[in-house]
């Protein structure tokens, strides 16, 4: 694909930026907001939860409860109103039955109107109460969830880099987005639904027995059937949708692979083969989707049927009781019973869905809480504070491994005097980056001691240490916002003039001024609207602004055009001037300029010294130099 990136390199920026903007705008314009619509509409029927169940349900509920505790009055309001409205809902059918029996049948119009008046008032009051209850609950849920999300984010910031190395960034992000959404869903919808379901269930049951116990028993026969059915079918349906999602994933995999490799696909005439493969998987998806839909489609009709069956049985039994004058059954009673039966059955058929949502919410909550419970890296921190480092650094017998008993660095010892440039070279995976991770205390060594200005580095406060050690990484990691914001990131207190001055020194000013909005140019998607070299320059300016005493540079391996390369080299040199610098070097020139070269191989410091000294050794460095850097040099010649 690289072949085709070349053409863009010389395109003027106005154009590329405009294009990106258009893409972004288009994406935003057509963004799918079905998700949010679904949450508002009470959730799609087919949403399936794929993750694990919560392991400590009680503990998780307690934690959620603690968060909810801040809204005690709100919660009381919710419970009160939901309770009230459910009770009223339980009482309404009875009232209606009484109206029929006492007034309508005897055509007592004034009595009927009085009752109608009462019913209407109660119903009105009822809907207002329900509204207040739900509204309050949603607000509480939103606030709670916002608080949980912020707590999680605050924790994220003080977690050690180790956590980020051990967890995939997608998983971490998912905790603060998807999992938090799950909590929100179950909080806002289920709580109120659960309370009202329980009250309706119990209330209707009691009322049914009060109205007529024989009819009540008739309804109760169906309860076990309904419960068994909904649970069973719920499980099958879930399995079906899980399968469907899996197949959809497979299909997306093919699309992704073939679209990102479209050039190859065309070159190798693979269109038909991949299309066949796609169609095969597509058939699987279709069949899985079909099965899932069929099973999901059984639920409604069956529940509907049982509902009607109950309905009929009530009327028949009621009618028979009436005719044979067993007990006292009235038309009003029968009318009330049919409504109670409905109110009674409804929660049961919703049960499995509700259970599922709660399950999801708890599992999501547990994952978020686990994150919040992680140990902050500042819990074990030094106390030493330094306003400025002179810059002498020593590594004494440093041994370190990311995993226990798997040392990545063995017994490394070296020192750097203030202002020296130390180049670190070695094959990929030899442990170069680890040295840097230890230097700015992303990790601490297992054995040995690192000192800065003759004080052990673990005695320094971490943020103090890091603020004084500047880092320019290969992966520039720009943030969205303007170019100004990004450079300003190096020192939040810097003035605009200082930012511009620094950019000039870092050779970034010229290209920035050529951009359509100069320093106010927005950066998209980590800087995709800028070339790699330009991102490097911004990153250098950012570090330069922070004015560090010690510097860590990870030279970029990817090639940029010669002019930009020259600028980068120049500004890096400027950056290193007067500062103790550690450079993971890939370029010949950098290595030659270094005061000391550390050759790392398989986690061991096998050679150290100046370029000339090391060449004379005719050891590993000599080999490395003559093979790896030769090709480099040929490329550097410009062609």
């Amino acid at each position: 694909m690289t072949n085709n990136k070349d053409p863009y390199q010389d395109i003027d920026h106005t154009k590329t930026i405009l294009n990106k903007q258009q893409v972004k705008e288009r994406l935003e314009k057509t963004k799918d907001y079905s998700k949010i619509l679904n949450t508002r509409a009470g959730g799609g029927r087919h949403r399936v939860y794929l993750g694990n169940k919560a392991t400590d349900k009680i503990g998780t509920i307690k934690r959620i409860w603690n968060y909810l505790g801040n809204y005690r009055y709100g919660l009381i309001t919710v419970v009160f109103f939901i309770f009230l409205t459910s009770l009223l809902a339980v009482y309404l059918p009875r009232l209606f039955g009484i109206t029929i029996d006492r007034y309508l049948k005897v055509k007592d119009i004034s009595g009927a109107y009085r009752m109608a008046g009462i019913i209407i008032t109660i119903a009105l009051f009822n809907s207002i109460a329900r509204f207040i209850g739900r509204y309050t609950m949603t607000i509480i849920a939103q606030k709670t969830v916002a608080k949980i999300r912020q707590d999680a984010f605050d924790k994220l910031q003080i977690l050690p880099v180790k956590y980020y190395d051990q967890n995939q960034s997608g998983d971490i992000i998912s905790k603060l987005t998807n999992d938090v959404d799950l909590i929100s869903n179950s909080l806002s919808s289920v709580t109120t639904e659960l309370i009202s379901s329980i009250i309706l269930l119990i209330g209707s049951l009691i009322m049914m027995f009060i109205v007529n116990y024989i009819l009540a028993l008739v309804v109760l026969i169906f309860v076990p059937i309904m419960i068994l059915f909904t649970i069973k079918i719920g499980k099958i349906t879930k399995k079906g949708f899980v399968k469907q999602q899996k197949h959809l994933g497979n299909l997306n995999g093919i699309v992704e692979e073939s679209i990102s490799g479209i050039e190859v696909l065309k070159l190798y005439n693979q269109e038909e083969e991949t299309l066949n493969e796609f169609q095969d998987k597509n058939v699987e998806l279709r069949n899985a989707g079909f099965k899932a839909q069929v099973f999901a489609g059984i639920v409604m009709p069956v529940i509907g049927f049982i509902n009607n069956l109950i309905y009929v049985l009530i009327i028949i039994t009621g009618g028979l009781l009436f005719v044979f004058s067993i007990g006292t059954v009235t038309v009003g009673d029968i009318s009330a019973m049919t409504q109670y039966a409905r109110q009674f059955v409804q929660p049961i058929s919703n049960l499995s869905q509700m259970f599922n949502t709660i399950q999801q919410g708890l599992a999501g909550a547990e994952r978020v809480f686990n994150l919040i419970d992680e140990t902050s890296e500042y819990e074990q921190d030094g106390t030493q504070f330094s306003n400025a480092f002179k810059g002498s650094v020593t590594f004494e017998n440093i041994t370190f491994g990311y995993e226990k008993d798997q040392a990545v660095l063995h017994d490394i010892t070296f020192d750097a005097a203030p202002g020296e440039i130390i180049a670190i070279v070695g094959p990929t995976g030899s442990g170069k980056t680890t040295i840097i991770n230890l230097l700015n205390r992303f990790y601490d060594p297992d054995e040995g001691e690192i000192t800065i200005d003759n004080i052990s580095s673990i005695n320094y406060k971490k943020d103090n240490l890091r603020a004084k050690i500047g880092v320019v990484l290969q992966d520039t990691n720009l943030f969205s916002g303007t170019i100004f914001d990004n450079i300003h990131y190096g020192d939040q207190t810097a003035t605009k003039e200082e930012v511009i001055k620094t950019s000039k020194i870092a050779n970034a000013h010229d290209f920035i001024m050529k951009l359509p909005h100069q320093y106010e140019t927005e950066i998209y998607e980590g800087g995709e609207n800028l070339s790699h070299g330009e991102r490097q320059l911004i990153s250098i300016a950012r570090t330069l602004l922070s004015n560090p005493d010690i510097l860590i540079l990870d030279e970029a391996t990817s090639s940029v055009d010669t002019r930009t390369e020259f600028h980068i080299q120049e500004s890096m040199r400027l950056l290193m001037k007067g500062r103790t610098s550690f450079v993971i070097a890939h370029r010949l020139q950098t290595i030659r300029d270094a005061d000391k070269i550390l050759v790392i191989h398989d986690g061991k410091l096998i050679e150290q010294g100046s370029h000339q000294e090391l060449l004379k050794l005719e050891g590993f460095y000599h080999d490395l130099y003559t093979t790896q850097f030769k090709e480099e040099k040929i490329r550097e010649s410009g062609y």
Binding site: N3, P7, K15, N19, V23, E28, D32, I36, L37, L104, I109, A116, I119, L124, I139, R149, F153, L156, I158, Y164, S169, I173, L248, V255, I259, E263, L265, K266, L267, Y268, N269, E271, F278, R286, G289, G297, I298, P301, G304, F305, N308, L309, V312, L313, I315, I316, G319, V323, S335, R466, V471, L473, N477, Q492, G526, E618, T626, E631, I634, S637
Partner: protein, 600 residues
């Protein structure tokens, strides 16, 4: 009209089954509105003396002489009737599942096929994520639209219609009062959702912005920590989070107003019906049974109306999705109108004044390029990054189409040769080869699935890959690519080379692909080429002069123009760019020799 066509376009082949589903649906709604009549029948005709309101064919079934028998009959008939209804309902869902899944299946196939056939230019401008989203989310949106929303609209419309029809049959006067303010419900719902739609978007954007901050902070954690700017990130996130919360809260309020106000209107309608119902019942205008039926019927009107408004208000989403799909479908496939000629390709290639400019670029990538290569010759192309080397080969295989001039193969214009045919006979080995997530064997044999194993091994040997493969635990059956074992850059390169060596090709292009292998392998491969494929025309794109020097002809490209052309010797004599390059690169070699000597 255009919209209608857009909506129905994807249903091709499934229209009949869709119509069956609709007919069943309509029947179901009619049956549903019959159910309240059973109650009316019992109240008025079994216990009272009114005439039955049930339709004739059902009424005939429930005739009996005693009340007990009548009741029992009604019950049995009702249960059977319900069972019948449930069966149809299930059948309707079954059919629904068939056609929605079928439609989605067809859509995905069509889209995927189309995507593949779009030109390379299109793909180099499109975002992969966006395209994938279209293939999945947009298809899903349409599937939901056809299978759920559209069906739901039909269902609701007929339910409302039949309910009003039944009410009217029972009592026209009462009907008027029972539905008098229902249009307000529909209109409120519709207008509201049209208006509130943009708020959904605002909230979505705020959420997106918050997620971006989160994402950047997570992926850039090393930078955050290196600058000790955790607090800054926390502040930034808090701000975005609060913003999202506030916008979500506004939306919630809007929605609350919606639910509250429509609830209220519905409530008023109920109260109306109740009051007038009581009045008419006591006045004897309607029977008690009718009154009870009316209370059920208005439920079949008011709630569906509110839902209807919401769904119709939400149709816009589908329109957007369909527009996005059309945007792809309306693009011309690169194979449409392609030439059908499939002449035997020998390998004489001629570029005549070829120029090419990328769609959105201002300067041409290739400018008036002319040269020719004879069958079996080797042509080397040297030039800076961005000088147009790769564009040149992309033009030759028609991944890109030239703007000006002609490219001839064996004297025939390549525009008149079928693209697939052309690509089948011109092999390209790219700088960054793409491996499929399949076995090594399959990856090597990708161009010829029936290639015998020994042929694959032979190709791998020539590409200096065989020994490496032997070292792998599963040998040629090792899965590679994104979901498999990661190979080194050099190994990938050699897989790509081996691919091309399975069958002989009249033209072979090495797009800077020999530079990733070491000099020895480079020589080995070129020797093998000389030996087995003397008749193959070879293009070598390189920055390494030693690779280029043995070519029959060398082209030096600069800024899209041919700067120099000739053999190694001629070009050295020219004292131009090439000889300059040669000096630099041999000097480097010289440097190394000196270092070695100096060290000794």
């Amino acid at each position: 009209m255009k919209r209608l066509k857009q909506f129905t376009k994807w249903m091709k082949g499934n229209l009949l089954i869709f119509n069956i589903a609709i007919v069943l649906l309509i029947g179901l709604q009619y049956f549903r509105t019959l159910t309240p009549l059973f109650v009316t029948h019992i109240v008025d005709s079994v216990f009272g003396n009114e005439e039955s309101v049930l339709p004739g064919f059902i009424e005939n079934l429930v005739q009996a002489n005693t009340i007990q028998k009548q009741l029992l009959l009604v019950a049995v008939v009702f249960v059977l009737f319900t069972l019948f209804r449930v069966l149809i309902m299930f059948g309707r869902r079954l059919i629904n599942a068939v056609f929605t899944e079928n439609i989605a299946y067809n859509m995905r196939n069509t889209l995927y096929d189309k995507l593949q056939n779009l030109s390379f230019t299109y793909h180099s401008h499109a975002e992969t994520g966006d395209l994938i989203q279209r293939c999945t989310t947009d298809v899903e949106t349409y599937r939901v639209f056809i299978g759920e929303q559209l069906i739901e609209v039909f269902r609701l419309l007929f339910l409302i219609g039949f309910a009003i029809f039944q009410m009217n049959k029972l009592s026209p006067t009462m009907t008027l009062y029972a539905i008098i303010i229902t249009p307000i419900i529909f209109l409120t719902s519709l207008i509201y959702f049209m208006l509130v739609k943009k708020h959904f978007k605002i909230v979505e954007e705020a959420e997106g912005s918050m997620t971006t901050t989160l994402q950047e902070s997570v992926t850039g954690i090393r930078v955050v920590k290196a600058f000790a700017s955790e607090q800054h990130e926390i502040d930034k996130f808090d701000k975005k989070s609060m913003d999202y919360y506030e916008k979500d809260y506004t939306l919630l309020k809007l929605m609350a107003i919606y639910w509250g106000s429509t609830d209220f209107v519905i409530f008023i309608q109920y109260a109306f019906t109740l009051s007038f119902g009581i009045y008419f019942t006591t006045e004897g205008v309607i029977t008690l049974g009718t009154f009870i039926a009316f209370l059920t019927y208005i439920g079949m009107v008011v709630w569906p109306l509110r839902r209807l408004g919401r769904i119709v208000g939400d149709f816009g989403k589908t329109t957007v999705a369909l527009d996005r799909l059309d945007e792809i479908m309306d693009k011309v496939s690169e194979h449409d109108n392609d030439a059908q000629n499939t002449p035997k390709i020998e390998g004489d290639i001629q570029f005549k004044n070829v120029s090419f400019t990328f769609e959105d670029a201002s300067t041409p990538l290739l400018n008036d390029v002319s040269f020719s290569v004879k069958k079996g010759e080797t042509l080397a192309i040297v030039g800076k990054t961005g000088s147009g080397k790769s564009t040149l080969t992309n033009l030759l295989i028609r991944l890109l189409e030239i703007d000006d001039g002609e490219i001839l193969i064996d004297g025939k214009n390549i525009q008149d040769i079928n693209k697939k045919h052309l690509r089948k006979h011109i092999g390209i080995i790219m700088q960054e080869p793409f491996l499929y997530s399949r076995t090594l064997q399959e990856n090597i044999g990708i161009m010829n699935e029936n290639a015998p194993t020994d042929k694959i091994h032979q190709a791998a040997s020539i590409a200096a890959l065989h020994d490496d493969v032997q070292e792998l635990e599963r040998g040629y059956n090792t899965i590679v690519g994104e979901r498999g074992v990661t190979l080194s850059g050099g190994q990938k390169q050699r897989v790509a080379i081996a691919r091309m060596l399975i069958d002989s090709k009249p033209v072979l292009i090495f797009d800077d692909s020999l530079s990733a292998v070491d000099t020895e392998t480079d020589i080995q491969i070129r020797n093998a080429l000389d030996e087995y494929w003397q008749d193959t025309t070879v293009f070598i794109i390189t920055h390494r002069i030693t690779t280029a020097m043995e070519a029959d002809k060398i082209i030096v490209l600069e800024e899209g123009k041919v700067k120099e052309m000739g053999t190694h010797k001629q070009l050295l004599k020219n004292k131009g760019l090439y000889s300059e390059l040669w000096d630099i690169q041999t000097n480097i070699e010289y440097d190394y020799e000196k270092i070695k000597e100096g060290v000794r």
